[in-house]
């Protein structure tokens, strides 16, 4: 395993005591999270652990019930998605949030169109191709509606869109879930490139191999609470234990059975 010490970049984002209730459901309770420049933070946890909710709070989609967020040392309130975008926080949502009736260029530039009173379609199309080619995307035509694209292609469009505004922090909610082998590698490369440029990255994934490959720190959520911070060198058993909340569980039983069978 390669040595990957936590970089000493500027503290970009800092969450303290963030809680979010949906009626009677506490999706998040007392969450703490720090993100530095030039660091990849992996957010892991079982389904329903609150990962997507946390991302949406940081994207300005949901307002936290309580707690404080500071961005580059200043306390901020993210009252709307545009507030988060203006600060430089870009998000690729799990439920992709694309407009199926619009074409690829229109989706990438949605809300950020060039020359609002006389749309500059040519420049937008060129920039769209440049972004997509950086991601090694296989998009046949950027002038077809999003509805005609496959899940993986849509994922790439969503990622391309997040890069458009040169953000400070990128949040990727299960970005590789719908992707093929080559595309997954491409996204992981991208995450590394973005980190090396000094951006902060928050990545959610269920794939421990992907997480270990790029993360500097692994933050575990369980039932809406912090459940430990790990380095990529942590053992599978430790991580799975933190994620599921038990040392004796389906994953560890299966692993020990496999170990016995191979003896």
């Amino acid at each position: 395993m390669t040595e990957r010490p936590t970089p000493k970049g500027e503290l970009l984002l800092s969450l303290r005591g963030i809680s979010k209730n949906f009626g009677a459901v506490s999706a998040l309770t007392d969450i703490e999270l720090d993100v530095h420049a030039g660091e990849v933070v992996a957010l892991v946890g079982d389904n329903g652990a609150g990962k997507s909710t946390l991302v949406k709070v940081l994207a300005g989609v949901h307002q936290p019930t309580s707690g404080s967020i500071s961005y580059r040392g200043r306390p901020v309130t993210l009252t709307s998605p545009s507030a988060a975008l203006e600060l430089g926080i870009a998000t690729v949502f799990q439920d992709l949030a694309l407009c199926e009736n619009l074409d690829v260029v229109a989706n990438i530039f949605l809300g950020q169109e060039l020359s609002p009173l006389r749309l500059d379609e040519v420049s937008m199309e060129v920039r769209a191709w440049t972004l997509l080619n950086e991601l090694a995307a296989r998009i046949p035509s950027v002038r077809e509606p999003i509805a005609s694209l496959s899940g993986g292609q849509r994922q790439t469009v969503a990622i391309a869109r997040s890069l458009l505004l040169n953000p400070q922090i990128i949040m990727l909610d299960e970005p590789t879930a719908a992707l093929g082998v080559a595309q997954t590698a491409e996204v992981l490369n991208l995450v590394e490139r973005v980190r090396d440029k000094g951006l902060g990255v928050i990545m959610i994934s269920h794939n421990m191999a992907d997480v270990r490959a790029v993360a500097n720190r692994i933050v575990v959520l369980r039932l809406g609470r912090n459940n430990g911070v790990f380095t990529p060198e942590a053992s599978n058993q430790e991580l799975v234990g933190a994620i599921t909340g038990a040392t004796d569980n389906a994953v560890s039983r299966r692993e020990s059975r496999m170990a016995e069978e191979t003896k």
Partner: protein
Amino acid sequence: MSDPKPTLDRADSRVTHASGIGGAVEQFIGRVKAGDLGSLPVIVGLAIIWTVFTLLNPIFLSPNNLVNMLFDCSTTGVISLGIVCVLILGEIDLSVGSMSGVGSTLIGVLWVNAGVPLPLAILAALIAGALIGTIYATLRNRLGMPSFVSTLSGLLALLGLQLYLLGATGSINLPYSSTMVNFGQLMIMAKPLSYALCLVPCVVMLVVGLQTNAKRRAANLSAGSSGGLALRAGLTTLGLLAVIFYLNLGRGVPWMFALFVALVLVMNYAFTRTQWGRSMKAVGGNAEAARRAGINVRRIYVSAFMLCSTFAALGGVLSSARLASASQQAGTGDVNLNAIAAAVIGGTSLFGGRGSAFSALLGIIVIQSIANGLTLLNLSSSLRYMITGGVLAIAVIVDSLARQSRVSHGRA
């Protein structure tokens, strides 16, 4: 492909690209099969309607009858243009008829009765429209009230307001010799001007098209051929010239219709070439996605409802000029449904996210053709309602089928 270095957008070998006129036709057929019908159904429908009525009564196609029809199209057409705005968002405004009635009443009350200068009276009517639209949007944004309900109560409330403003007399006549009434009944564009205006679309298409092509080539993108562009521009102008020539055999092109077409062109530009238009389609397609992209969704709703009611008020102002009166009947009866039906018949989807300013123009021509043709046959309005209702049903069926086809062909 012989080209050694493909352009940016033609690098994917799986996509077939149309080349030449044959390719363009093939691509068009493919789009139609996939449910991307555009204005095809309405043009086919119009051809059928016109053929039938001309066979039944040749006067239908006489130049002066068509000129009359254009006068009648303009008032409801302007209202329908507003309906397109709310339909693109997947919303509806059922009160445009009453709103136009209030607009027309304000002209009578303020201009004729109170002696307010005409421009101020018109401005007051438009501001009243904008206010009402803002109320609908606020009810939707703050209270989550569906526009179906808020505008239905608006329909009744505005009708009440109209009756209240008109008072006991119930009808106010506009002075016959005024410019206002002349505009609504007589004013015709000078013939040389009408021919000169035919050249404008040709010049605009050529200049913009050539500029775009040059810019695309410079940016290493595929660009259309200049020949095809010239052909399209030439055909457009020839078609327009033929229409104008025919109308000029009669009285000519009404200024009121020219105003309507100008508004259609402005709205078409706003829908297709501005950030606002892009945001409208985005909100209509997926409001949550639009919000997450940083679009101020509430402001989009306000702009659409405001425009819709303002256009309705303007339609009322024009109809007061057309009828030379502001009465209790203004904006009642079939005005409301004709305006909504025109937008849908013209090809704007009821499901939101798709629509064009030209659908108001095409749709209202269909509806007025039916009304006019049946009047020529001395048939009562009972039949007219039934036929217009049938055509609307067909248009909605076409819209739904096309939508299903688009979903299955990935063009939602």
